[in-house]
């Protein structure tokens, strides 16, 4: 059993992955998860919408990467891939696309394995974002890091507190990628947010994970020297909406920024 991962499955505690599933309309959850989800929803009616917005942002971003020719994806913090998950989106567009899912939640991992059984182009890694070298080592079995890779960090970096040096984790992941690779990040922020959002953050402490809200500048820093694609780091619904009508009147109400950056080949000396 890898270090740092849970040695006990405690089904009496809610799981972030299963709460997320509930918000997306799934039934991959238990009473304890639904109770917490309802409680969060009562305090911040926006949150369910935020999660859906995050899912939609991810879908659009993956589409954009597919359009750019990316055919391998490393989805870290994939949770329970219930609906609109990356391999469905990716393999729908390119049947040869490869996806590696990574999650810390052993139930989510077990579920993903069952769901993906028989799909040779996907795999699931049980790991913690805080051990990026191990993630990369495990992913190398399926992904070729000599070619462009799409690294997806949707709604996961905010689970890493500053004490665990998220900047270094991101640097490690970027350093492993070849030119032409993309980095997709969505991340909760306190910018433009009402107090209720900040209160909800405290509630999330009741799962095994606590959220660190960060500024736009901090989140931008996670992309390093990679080139941010238009329209930059924005409130999630504003990132390349399918149609202008999809954009909410208050896109900031979802409380999270999304952005995509590309690793451009450094100019040869």
């Amino acid at each position: 059993m890898p270090d740092g991962l849970p040695t006990e499955i405690d089904l009496t505690r809610p799981s972030a992955a299963r709460v997320y599933d509930y918000f997306l309309g799934g039934a991959h959850n238990f009473e304890i998860d639904r109770q917490l989800a309802e409680q969060i929803a009562r305090m911040t009616p926006n949150l369910a919408a935020t999660m859906r917005a995050g899912r939609e942002f991810l879908r659009r971003a993956v589409r954009a990467l597919l359009d750019a020719g990316v055919d391998q994806f490393l989805d870290i913090g994939s949770g329970i891939p219930t609906v609109g998950n990356v391999h469905e989106v990716a393999q729908g567009a390119n049947p040869k696309a490869r996806v590696v899912y990574v999650d810390i939640d052993p139930v989510a991992v077990a579920h993903s394995r069952e769901l993906l059984a028989g799909n040779d182009l996907t795999t699931v890694v049980h790991a913690d974002l805080r051990e990026p070298e191990r993630i990369l080592d495990e992913a190398r079995g399926l992904l070729d890091f000599g070619r462009p890779v799409g690294i997806l960090l949707a709604g996961v970096v905010h689970f890493v507190p500053d004490a665990d040096r998220p900047g270094e984790i991101l640097a490690t992941l970027r350093a492993a990628a070849a030119p032409g690779s993309y980095l997709v990040i969505s991340h909760s922020t306190f910018e433009d947010q009402p107090q209720e959002m900040l209160d909800a953050q405290r509630l999330s402490a009741r799962t095994d994970t606590e959220i660190s809200l960060r500024s736009r500048a901090e989140i931008t820093g996670f992309f390093g020297d990679w080139t941010l694609l238009e329209p930059g780091l924005v409130h999630m619904p504003l990132w390349r909406p399918d149609s202008p009508s999809d954009v909410d009147e208050h896109p900031e109400r979802f409380g999270a920024f999304g952005g995509v950056a590309r690793y451009d080949q450094p100019a040869a000396g």
């Binding site: 299963r18 039934a27 991959h28 859906r52 609906v83 609109g84 052993p106 077990a110 399918d242 999809d246």
Partner: protein, 723 residues
């Protein structure tokens, strides 16, 4: 999609259906999460709109397509109840008017719409129920599978640790906080000689040993209370068979998740052999291999511990014992017999104080020491010393030899507070030396005043050579006067030490030291040469006086083969005629160590030097030799002269002394020797001595020792008087 629209073209209002589907799509996207883009959603719902419109007009009519649509919605993840609500309502309120060409619908269309609403709802509900069942089943299965994996990992881990626990060479025991042993491994049980079952449930307190390290059980208690996490000690156990087990013990505390103490885990390593080896090495390091007695290291450790821990008033005695003449025994009988003698003496010494618990140690060679700890006074230490001397002096049979051995003991006794270990041992050493000096088979008790004198003497002795080099010695001269005519015929050279700190020291303070250290040869030569120089100075200034200088020659000097050359050189260097030099020797010096008169006396005599016997009458002179030797003068020792005091209650004694002096003078004159009386203090004495025909006198009556220039002044006065 276009194909559907085309084939349905005559049944469905194409534009109407598209408008209906677009509104439907906007509604579902507003009401819940849709994992599709807006266009995809719209295309999907257009298909369902067309299916519903076709079902409405189909003959015979069936609600089944609506059920299929309801199921399809759920399978496309459009499963929000509010989406169903919207879909059913729109189907009833708007579908006919918008999606079906006007007038193209049958007369019972209203009933059919209701049937389609029912079918859609049933299909949606059935699919949602199926999906919920399958997702619930899947998440539950996943949860159990994840739990199984974790448990399997734990079981694997448990199996590995169990293997370590079971197979470990070190003993491992686990106990609850209540002290009950929960489990031990085979090694643990084997080390203690019990079976695992016998140890289960027993209390760790049962493993207590009386000699457990101080504080160990307090540490254990603190651990059980959660104040310590690790205790590491050397601990001994009683094995089941009663034998001793020495272990290196480490006890760790295992806590509950919330930090409360839960178990203690003890790990023991059997170090019995290592401990035994250590003990053996320690014994070897602290004991004398020959006699088995404690050695000086152990003795000093013990002494040091007493000084560290004892109350200042506690008395401590040391008997420092050394065999008399052991070297001679060793040399004559061989080291083997010498060693066997030491072994027997050691055993006797140990036996004689064994019941009193005193420590007997061999300090090296034939030196032993007995530590009399906690005695009540000097008497205890003396009793121990006498017991030791008695034990030693009983005849010893070594091989076929019977030896009579004796020893000397230096005793020091006093309260711990007044001294230190090193001072005590130094005092014991000094005292042993005194005992030795007083003769064999004795004990002596330390006397601090005597020791102080010894120390002063030895520091004087140590300073002598440098004093000679720095010219700190000076000469004084005491007149020797003719009893017949009162004229100063000679002076005796007497050496003084002008000590920079102690002032002018008389010869009694340092001549003995100079003789012991051998410095007397150099000092005597200096005296001789200085006296010759002074005498030659007087001779040059007062040639008529013919003043003789009399210089003492110590035994060591007289025996020195170079003495003749030295005297000769002193004369020639100074220019003093030989007949103006007199050398004074004591009777014992004249006889030398070989028991016969020194050969050099004749050679000195041949130089023309006068020879006098100093302190005549106090030694043992061989009159036969006296007759043949080139002696010129006898100096009568002071005690005879002191007896001649004239009147008084001691007149009878006077009379006897006077007759002795008379006899000595007659003897001297018979041998044609001059006689000088020393220590003449009064005119009465001088008059008597003159009457006894003694030739010359020396003493305070004729003048105390004085510097050379005062002798010159006296000569000058005499010359002036005669002129």
């Amino acid at each position: 999609m276009a194909a559907v629209a085309d084939s349905a073209g005559d049944e469905v209002s194409r534009a109407g259906a598209q408008g209906y589907a677009a509104e439907w799509a906007r509604a579902v996207r507003r009401l819940g999460f849709v994992p599709l883009s807006a266009a995809e959603t719209e295309r999907l719902l257009l298909v369902h709109t067309v299916r519903l419109a076709q079902a409405l007009r189909a003959e015979p009519f069936s609600g089944q397509p609506a059920e299929d649509v309801g199921r399809a919605l759920v399978e496309a993840h459009l499963a929000e109840p509010r989406m169903l609500e919207w879909s059913v309502r729109a189907l009833g309120e708007e579908f006919l008017d918008r999606a079906v060409p006007a007038g193209a619908y049958p007369g019972n269309a209203r009933q059919r719409i209701v049937a389609l609403q029912a079918g859609l709802s049933a299909g949606f509900a059935r699919a949602l129920r199926d999906r919920t069942f399958s997702q619930q089943e899947r998440i539950a299965r996943s949860a159990w599978q994840a739990r199984d994996e974790v448990e399997q990992a734990l079981r694997d881990s448990e199996a590995r640790f169990r293997a370590v626990f079971t197979g470990a060479a070190i003993g491992i025991g686990i106990a609850g906080i209540d002290g009950q042993i929960i489990d031990v491994n085979q090694s643990f049980a084997d080390m203690l000689g019990y079976s695992i079952e016998e140890l289960h449930g027993t209390d760790v307190a049962g493993l207590f040993h009386v000699e457990d390290a101080a504080g160990m059980w307090e540490l254990y208690q603190e651990m059980v209370e959660g104040k310590q996490d690790l205790v590491r000690v050397e601990k001994r156990y009683h094995r089941k068979d009663g034998s001793m087990l020495w272990t290196d013990l480490a006890v760790s505390l295992i806590r509950h998740d919330d930090g409360r103490p839960r178990f203690t885990v003890a790990m023991i390593e059997d170090i019995t052999e290592r401990y035994a080896l250590q003990q053996r090495l320690r014994f070897q390091a602290l004991h004398d291999p020959l006699t088995g007695l404690p050695n000086r290291t152990l003795f000093f450790e013990t002494l040091g511990r007493i000084f560290e821990t004892a109350a200042p008033g506690r008395r401590l005695g040391i008997c420092f014992l050394d065999l008399d003449g052991f070297k001679a025994i060793n040399d004559s009988l061989g080291h083997d017999l010498g060693d066997r003698l030491l072994v027997m003496i050691a055993r006797r010494l140990a036996d004689c104080v064994a019941d009193q618990g005193h420590l007997v140690a061999r300090m090296g060679g034939d030196e032993f020491v007995i530590l009399v700890d906690g005695g009540e006074g000097l008497d205890d230490a003396v009793a121990v010393a006498e017991a030791a001397l008695a034990a030693v002096s009983a005849p010893v049979h070594v091989g076929d030899q019977q030896l009579a051995v004796s020893a000397s003991v230096g005793i020091v006794d006093g309260p711990v507070g007044g001294t230190s270990a090193s001072e005590l041992m130094k005092a014991a050493d000094t005292t042993l030396y005194w005992a030795k000096a007083e003769g064999r088979g004795r004990w002596a008790v330390y006397d601090p005043e005597r020791s102080a004198r010894d120390i002063a003497r030895s520091s004087l002795a140590a300073g002598l050579p440098a004093a000679l080099d720095r010219g700190e010695f000076v000469l004084r001269y005491q007149p020797i006067v003719s009893l017949l005519e009162g004229r100063m015929l000679a002076v005796e050279a007497l050496v003084r030490w002008q000590h920079p700190e102690l002032g002018l020291l008389g010869p009694d303070r340092f001549i003995g030291l100079a003789e012991e250290t051998g410095l007397i040869v150099r000092l005597g030569e200096w005296v001789l040469r200085q006296a010759c120089r002074d005498a030659e100075e007087w001779r040059r200034r007062f040639p008529e006086a013919r003043l003789v200088v009399s210089v003492n020659l110590a035994a060591r000097q007289a025996e020195d083969p170079a003495i003749v050359a030295t005297v000769s050189d002193a004369l020639s260097t100074s220019g003093l005629p030989a007949e103006l030099l007199q050398l004074e020797l004591t009777e014992s010096a004249v006889m030398g160590t070989a028991g016969e008169p020194l050969r050099s006396l004749h050679q000195l005599g041949a130089l023309g030097v006068r020879l006098a016997i100093d302190d005549f009458g106090t030694g043992y002179s061989n009159l036969a030799y006296l007759r043949r030797l080139p002696i010129h003068c006898l100096k009568l020792a002071g005690p005879f002269v002191e007896g001649i005091r004239g009147d008084g209650p001691e007149a009878a004694a006077d009379h006897r002394d006077e007759r002795i002096v008379d006899a000595l003078v007659r003897l001297a004159h018979a041998l044609e020797l001059w006689v000088t009386a020393e220590a003449v203090e009064t005119g009465v004495q001088a008059e008597r001595l003159r009457a006894l025909r003694c030739d010359t006198g020396q003493g305070r009556f004729f003048g105390s020792p004085m510097p050379a220039d005062r002798i010159a002044a006296r000569l000058a006065r005499a010359q002036g008087g005669s002129e």
